[in-house]
C-alpha cells in the first residue's frame, strides 16, 4: 500500500519534470487521494517490536478507569516492595530471600507442563512434525545419499575425494 503510493508519486514527479501543462494536471488528479497517513498508520504496528509510546493511544488515555487501575497496580507493587525490603534490611537476614515469582516460573515451565498437557489435534500434529519429522527426514536423506554413493562405487564411477593413491 505504501510502496504503491510511493511509486505513483515518483512517476507523477517524473512526468511533472518532463513537462507539459496537460500532463501535469492529469498526474496531480490521479495522485490526490485524501489526507496523508497519520504517524501511527505510517509506522504500522507489527508483532516483533512495540509501538513507540508517542504513537500508542494508551499513552493519551487519561480516563478515571485507567487511573484507578494504575493505582491498584501501584498498591500491589508497593506491598511487594515492602515485603522485600523488610526481609532485605532485617538485622538477621535469611541466607536467601527466595522469590516466589521465580519459583513459580521455574515450576510452571518444568513440572507443570506434563500435568496440564492434553493431546489435541493441534498438539499431536505439532508433536509429530517436530519430534518425528526431522528424525524420519534425516534417516531418509542419509540412506538415500549412501545408496547413491554405493551404486556409484559398484559401477566404478566414484572418485575418492581424499585418496592417497
Amino acid at each position: 500500500m505504501r510502496r504503491g503510493e510511493g511509486r505513483g508519486e515518483g512517476k507523477a514527479g517524473l512526468r511533472l519534470l518532463s513537462g507539459s501543462g496537460r500532463l501535469r494536471g492529469a498526474g496531480l488528479s490521479k495522485m490526490a487521494a485524501g489526507p496523508p497517513p497519520s504517524a501511527s498508520e505510517a509506522y504500522r504496528s507489527n508483532r516483533f517490536v512495540s509501538l513507540p509510546a508517542e504513537l500508542d493511544p494508551d499513552t493519551y488515555d487519561a480516563s478515571l478507569e485507567k487511573r484507578a487501575a494504575d493505582a491498584e497496580r501501584l498498591a500491589i507493587r508497593a506491598r511487594l516492595k515492602r515485603q522485600y525490603q523488610l526481609q532485605l534490611n532485617n538485622p538477621n537476614p535469611p541466607a536467601i530471600i527466595e522469590n516466589p515469582a521465580l519459583v513459580r516460573w521455574a515450576y510452571a515451565r518444568t513440572q507443570n507442563v506434563y500435568p496440564t498437557f492434553r493431546p489435541t489435534p493441534k498438539t499431536s500434529f505439532l508433536g509429530a512434525l517436530f519430534a518425528i519429522g526431522p528424525l524420519v527426514f534425516w534417516i531418509v536423506a542419509f540412506k538415500a545419499d549412501r545408496d547413491r554413493k554405493e551404486k556409484l562405487i559398484q559401477e566404478g564411477k566414484y572418485e575418492r575425494p581424499f585418496s592417497v593413491f
Binding site: 512495540s50 500491589i76 511487594l80 516460573w105 500435568p115 498438539t123
Partner: protein
C-alpha cells in the same frame, strides 16, 4: 512453598481465576491465562511480550540488572527477554521499511552474484605451459632417451 501457591491447571470458574490472579500478585482484570489448548501452560498468566530493554532504566528496581521487582509475575519467556537477548523496543525506522530495504539489498546482491556465475568475466587465459619439454623427466620419462622437443611459441 505450599501446593496452592504453585502454578496449577487452567482456571475454569471465575473463583479459580480470582484465586489464580491473587496467587500471581496480579489484578483480576489484568490476569489472562494462556488459551486452554493443551500446550502445557496451565494457569500461568499471559503477560505482554515486551523485553526488558523497554523498562524504565531510572526506576529503582529490586533487581536492577534484570529490571525486575521481587514477587512480580515473570513472563513465560523471561529468559528470552533479558537485556542480553531479544529486544522488542520500538525501532526508529518502521519495521516494514527496514524489511523492504533489506530484501532489496539482499536480492540485488544475490542476483548480481548469480549473473556473475552464469556470465563470468575475466582476462583472457590460455593453457598452462611447463618448462623442460613439458616436465619430461619429472613425469617419469626415461633419462637415456631424447625427449621430443616442445616449443610453446611461434615466431
Amino acid at each position: 512453598m505450599s501446593k496452592d501457591l504453585m502454578p496449577g491447571p487452567y482456571p475454569r470458574t471465575p473463583e479459580e481465576r480470582a484465586a489464580a490472579a491473587k496467587k500471581y500478585n496480579m489484578r483480576v482484570e489484568d490476569y489472562e491465562p494462556y488459551p486452554d489448548d493443551g500446550f502445557g501452560y496451565g494457569d500461568y498468566p499471559k503477560l505482554p511480550n515486551k523485553s526488558f530493554h523497554e523498562r524504565d532504566p531510572w526506576y529503582q528496581w529490586d533487581q536492577p540488572d534484570m529490571r525486575h521487582n521481587w514477587g512480580e509475575p515473570m513472563h513465560w519467556d523471561f529468559d528470552m527477554y533479558i537485556r542480553n537477548r531479544v529486544d522488542t523496543s520500538p525501532t526508529p525506522v518502521p519495521w516494514h521499511t527496514m524489511r523492504k530495504h533489506f530484501l532489496i539489498f539482499l536480492s540485488t546482491m544475490l542476483i548480481m552474484f548469480g549473473l556473475g556465475e552464469i556470465f563470468p568475466a575475466y582476462r583472457p587465459v590460455g593453457p598452462k605451459q611447463y618448462p623442460f619439454n613439458d616436465l619430461y623427466l619429472e613425469r617419469g620419462g626415461d633419462p637415456n632417451k631424447e625427449p621430443s622437443v616442445v616449443t610453446h611459441y611461434e615466431i
